[in-house]
């Protein structure tokens, strides 16, 4: 059975500057995976290539065995992508937005409507159905964007900083939803700068720097060499500091 996500020798340059530089990453099905890295490490570019938003210069990306370049339709059908600053249609209302997103993934009307009601209720947005999205706060927009990502019941979720702008209660709610999805067999790949979240939620963690994976494994595996400190923050800072060579993944 193919892996949820298989990235091989991925390269992408912007104006001659490498953003992703020979990145390899394999994530099995049903895993909660955190992708960490300092600013400009290539996380977002990698995720945008996986979601089919940016074309790679070189290398392959397979989502559940479907090549994102040559079989984009099949790959995208099972994928949900939540960008770090999700843009929404300000003039639409939440149900109209979700109806549109469900239409893009060819979800039948009845199923979509039921899922939309369920998601909006779960995300505590059911009292905002009459408001236009342009009136929503940052956190409400983030929750609605997440509802959009979930409405087609994706097998693989790619989430770029999904907890940005959420208050403590909403962040907890979203984390619970993601954990539940993983229990149901969904694969979740997220980036975050809040290392505690990665430490607590992710089964495996990849640390990316200068466009390539420099460390990967469970928390125990990352601790590996005891010289590296105890917390993920210690490990992360040690691996990504200037001059650090990076451990072999």
């Amino acid at each position: 059975m193919s892996d949820a996500l298989e990235i091989r020798n991925l390269h992408k340059q912007f104006g001659g500057t490498p953003a992703v530089d020979g990145l390899d990453l394999v994530i099995p099905r049903g895993e909660f995976h955190a992708l960490l890295g300092p600013n400009g490490a290539g996380k977002t570019t990698t995720l945008r290539i996986v979601a089919g938003l940016v074309r790679a210069d070189f290398g392959t990306v397979r989502v559940l065995g479907h090549d994102i370049a040559s079989d984009a339709r099949a790959a995208k059908s099972v994928l949900a992508f939540l960008p770090d600053d999700p843009l929404l249609y300000g003039k639409l209302r939440p149900l109209e937005y979700l109806e549109f997103v469900a239409g893009l993934w060819s979800i039948d009307a009845a199923t979509a409507q039921a899922r939309a009601a369920d998601l909006l209720s779960t995300l505590s947005l059911d009292d905002k159905l009459d408001g236009r999205i342009e009136t929503f706060s940052r956190g409400m927009r983030q929750k609605l964007a997440l509802a959009g990502a979930l409405i087609h019941d994706p097998a693989v979720m790619i989430l770029d900083e999904p907890l940005t702008g959420l208050d403590a209660a909403a962040a907890r709610l979203v984390k619970d939803i993601l954990i539940e999805r993983v229990k149901q067999g969904c694969t979740v790949v997220l980036t975050t700068h809040i290392l505690e979240i990665a430490e607590r939620l992710a089964e495996r963690i990849s640390i990316i720097a200068r466009g390539r994976i420099i460390a990967q494994g469970t928390m125990a595996e990352l601790r590996g060499g005891s010289a590296r400190g105890e917390t993920l923050e210690d490990i992360f800072l040690e691996l990504t500091s200037e001059g650090a060579g990076g451990a072999a993944p």
Partner: protein
Amino acid sequence: MARRLKPATWPWLFAHEARLMWRTAGGAHLVLVLGFCAVAMLLAHLVGWALMRHLDLEAMLRTRSTIVVWSGAILLLFILSMAFGLAVSAIFSRGDMDLLLSSPVPIRGIYTVRAISVALGSIALFSLLLLPIANMAAVLGRWRSLAGYPVLLSVGLLCAALAFAGTLGLARALGARRARVAAQVLGAVAGAFVVLASQFFNLMPKYTQDAVARWIKSDASAAWLGPNSLLTWPVRAFFGDPLPAVAMLALGFGGFALTMHLTAGSFASAAQESAVAASPRWRPGARRRGFRSGLARIVIAKELILIARDPMLIAKALLQVLYLVPMLMILVRRGDLAQVLAASLVVMASSVAGTFAWLTVSGEEVPDLLQSSPISRERMRWLKVCAALLPVGVLIVPFLAWYAWLSLRVFAIVAVFAAAGVASAAVIQVWTGKPSATRDLKARGRQNVLMNFVELFCSLGWAAACFLAISGYYRYIPAGVALGVAGPGAAWLVRQWRDRNELSAGA
């Protein structure tokens, strides 16, 4: 320059504004813009020299004072129109307003500097045309014409003051959200007013036209249109007539200072209110319908909702139609109605179709979502264009019905060429449109100037073919059709070139 000035002072704020205006005007093509301005100034000076060698203002006032009055009025209204557009942006566009309002800089200073920027912005284009005339008049010995510089500035200040006072008054009366749209429409109508008003004359019955003509020639009109009329003062002031010049300077600078003094508080309120003014009417408990099924229905419905809920876009698009009204009025009076009206209809339909197609294809607010969905870009674009063309259909159906009643032959010709024009405009957008994440129509002009020209010539081609077909000049029709087809052809070539570049970039 801003770095050397004392922070938070008016000059410092003004330097900041100037820098933003300069970079907005030039963008990535600053050298091109400067080159264009230099050539335009050179040409304008040549024209100014030729004009001022022969123009005798006093003689013209004695013999053709009506022309002087109308020229001044047209210029003032155009500058006022420009000022309204800029004032709306200054008040309601968020930009750096949150930053400025949250800073300890006094609001009056921010407001005044913004308003001066609006004044300068509204006369910038006219300066290129008018100041060379003043320069050449001075070179030819009429040095008082250099008064044109401060007079033009005072006109800009006066128009800026009127625009701010009007917009802020509307904001107080209607609320920020409605005021924004109302002020923009008001500004556009001010610009079109002279053209529209002049055409109302053509629509008047013959006896009314004669009566107006008699009034213009009579002594009764002298107070308004005669050589000593106050309405000639703006032009007199520009050429340095002392009393009108002093009056215009006093009116402009004084009016501006007074408006700033009286409306600074309203500016602060309107700017703050605009931060939450995007809020529409809240309709709790509105009846909800079920979800639609089928991608086409959902995409078309979504695009139509977005168009319908953005009154500013509708206002701007409909203004395109408004500017064609005078042309239609002329045609109605002349009786060559069928041919030329049909040609105008083809241009109008193509133009509106191009605008709506741009809105749906390039003004996509959430490109990431669409790109990450399993729907192909091409299919999505065509669905969007279908949505864009529905309002155009609604717009031209009454005209077509009228033609069907008039003559089935003419109806068939108009329907075919209007459809060709609309389809060409749509195809050009589908093949060349790029997501801009903005639905601001101003972005359309900036985004792809070349294709905008292609679209214009294409619609003119179909209009010409339509005119020739109705008039019976069949042998010349291929020329119009060729021009019409050239638009989509050029768009196809652009698309091929773009696809090749994307492929080579991604290889």
